[in-house]
């Protein structure tokens, strides 16, 4: 047992740190650090910067722009990126549809979609959840009927993140209504501009517009847009969900948040001293830091155990990372509210052309919206209750 990194690993980390902090566009990092949402253009610029260095899709096969990294290097890449407040490349492109197409798509699909997905020339969104299919995703009802060389798609998706920006959607559709529910699903991709697609925004409790409902009304999709085999879509969906393993804990993001909270709590005054000098506040923060340090070590253990394991094989240990990681992220948003106190109250969304000065300190505006918004992290990607079901079955054998 040797818990030190090798000289090569440390050199890689230093290089990643230097790139993210010195070369990556500073304006984007500052906006992320301040907790402000990025515009579509900024998200695209960010991914293109990463892609120019070959770092947008390191998890992909090498021939499609991936990197031949060890699990430790992947960990360092993510950790340094998160700690530097560099936004991760768009997950829908890079860790969801990209790996599925690279693994199960035909050559023509790979050539057509992968380079554009890596460079965010096409913005992808995910058509999985439906109003009646949340945790029980396999019960989905959106229909794709084969009509000659086309699929006719009817149904509805929900919680479609950033569909308002998307050029393409990857969609789970029922192609065999008679089969067992997991065995009649196909993975179909199509442009969001097709006739019959309606996107309706959903405003969430933070006041923002991230997610949408997407309606399909006799949408005609060329049959060549099927990925892999018909009725095998559930397998591809499981592969897709198993791909995101260690990054899900977002340890680096939480470490950056802890730093930020400490800096801001040094600026805020309680009576005649800084909030950071308040014992109760510091103990609450320290308690989260302890859990975060433990999670970081747990993550390293998972990373080390992954060496020699096949990619795309779901690791139930990632459920632990999700369970703890989500709760820690949520606790930090609570502390961020505590930092700004009453100035978390004014509702002041960022709107174009707005000239009014900010009420309270600049850094207060996102505290409450973040807290509200982050309730999602224990719900999406398989709710924490589903993660517990997975661990109970796969690890404990219950």
């Amino acid at each position: 047992m040797d818990l030190n990194f090798t000289a090569e690993e440390l050199a890689f980390r230093d290089d990643a740190r230097r790139y993210f902090r010195k070369e990556f566009p500073a304006a984007i990092r500052e906006k992320v650090e301040a907790g402000h949402p990025l515009s579509k253009e900024e998200i695209i610029a960010s991914q293109r910067a990463l892609n120019a260095r070959g770092w947008a899709v390191p998890n992909w096969p090498k021939e499609w722009g991936g990197q031949d990294w060890s699990p430790v290097q992947f960990y360092m890449y993510q950790d340094e990126m998160q700690q530097a407040n560099v936004p991760a490349p768009l997950a829908f492109n890079t860790s969801m549809v990209g790996p599925v197409i690279a693994q199960f798509g035909n050559d023509e699909q790979k050539k057509r979609f992968l380079p554009r997905a890596a460079n965010l020339d096409d913005w992808w969104c995910q058509g999985f959840s439906e109003p009646g299919s949340g945790s029980d995703l396999a019960s989905l009802r959106t229909k794709a009927e084969r009509k000659g060389d086309k699929y006719l798609i009817n149904g509805q998706k929900i919680w479609t993140t950033l569909a308002q920006h998307a050029d393409w959607i990857f969609c789970l559709c029922r192609t065999d209504p008679a089969a067992k529910k997991q065995e009649g699903i196909s993975f179909i991709v199509f442009p969001m501009t097709l006739k019959g697609i309606t996107v309706r925004p959903i405003q969430t409790i933070d006041g923002g517009h991230e997610v949408n409902e997407v309606f399909f009304d006799d949408v005609e999709v060329p049959a060549e847009n099927l990925i892999g085999q018909e009725n095998k879509g559930w397998d591809y969906a499981k592969f897709l969900l198993g791909n995101e393993r260690t990054g899900i804990a977002r340890v680096g993001v939480s470490k950056a948040k802890v730093q930020r909270i400490k800096e801001l709590a040094a600026l805020e005054r309680v009576g005649d001293r800084a909030l950071i000098a308040d014992e109760k506040f510091r103990e609450k923060l320290a308690a989260v830091e302890v859990e975060l340090k433990a999670l970081e070590m747990t993550q390293l253990r998972v990373v080390a155990a992954e060496r020699g394991q096949a990619k795309g094989k779901p690791n139930p240990a990632s459920s632990i990372l999700k369970l703890k990681g989500s709760v820690i992220q949520q606790q930090l948003t609570e502390l961020a509210i505590e930092v700004v106190g009453p100035f978390a109250m004014p509702y002041q969304p960022v709107e174009a052309g707005q000239n009014e000065p900010v009420i309270g300190p600049d850094y207060a505006t996102e505290a409450a919206p973040d807290y509200f918004n982050y309730r999602k992290v224990s719900i999406y990607g398989g709710s924490n209750e589903i993660q517990r079901n997975i661990v109970a079955k796969a690890i404990l054998g219950l």
Binding site: D2, L3, R301, I320, A392, L396
Partner: protein, 384 residues
Amino acid sequence: MDFDFTEEQRLLKDSVDRLIADRYEFEARKKIMAEPDGWSRDIWAQYAELGLLGLPFEERHGGFGGGPVETMLVMEAFGRGLVLEPYLATVILGGGLIRAAGTEEQQAALLPQIAGGKLLLAFAHVERQSRYDLFDVATTAKPSGGGWVLDGAKSVVLHGDCADKILVSARLSGNRRDRDGIGLFLVDAKADGVARRGYPTQDGLRAAEITLSGAKAEAVLGEPGRALPVMERVVDEAIAALSAESVGLLASMQELTVEYLKTRKQFGVTIGSFQALQHRAVDMFVSVEQARSMALFANVMVSETDAAERARAMSAAKVQIGRSGKHVGEEAIQLHGGIGMTMEYKVGHYFKRQTMIDLMFGTADEHLAKLARMGGLFGAAKAA
């Protein structure tokens, strides 16, 4: 970075695991507890044979030259077995203090005796008023005829009842809570002026109240008056070791509970089929894994020479171990139901041991406050 054990470490782990499996069956443990010392001199001799009693010492002192990982392996196995022998008191604390503060002559004289199983030690630092502050020392040391004479009273001295020699913290100068002016003295347990009252602790291990009335010290360890940093370092080593023992306790409780959920039937089904209980079992598992991670962290950081960095890490580990321990222990009892309440079943014994570990060298709450005062773990911004 590599979490795998070396071949040597695997061999060590196998032999310790085997010894504990052989000697520490639940019923056998009851008999060991009933022996006059409350532990087994016979098993102690086996530890010596295996090299465990000299594990962290250098080879020239009859040791094994092991590091924190080796200690961690042994302590985790001792946790699983609910071992009763004075390993922490003699090897980790006693041996640790002699290694850290003793002269070459003192080390050469004492460490081989420990390694051979011939010398039992205890560290007497707790006083009625001190709680967990190592520097809060009212016991006095006065120079006398070229040596030192000690007066005072020490409490809850782990395995102080059976120790051959006792390491005593005593004040040479200054006020009761000064960090300076503390010395570390070696006292023969049978010397004139030393009175001991031994007793079992809640977990079935042993401790003693020790009164010193003009007791003559056999030796002074390190520079008189400047013993505190050495004591702090060795207590950090003890915290790292206890973290590993805790992992053994917690993992055992979690595994026993899952086994029980799989076998206990009510309403015609195994109770492990109930989702309410499955989720609680998963939360226990997550707590154990977090504790295991922090025990690893503690054992990585225990050799850190920057005392403040090391202290931060040990406090963090003690917080996690304490919190995970309380959660896992209380849930283990609850999910077992009535059987968890009896002395006839193992899980309650684990719970009691874990509860005592939280009370040693500062509780989770004390260490959380300490960590907060030190500015936390990440970035460690100093309080304004």
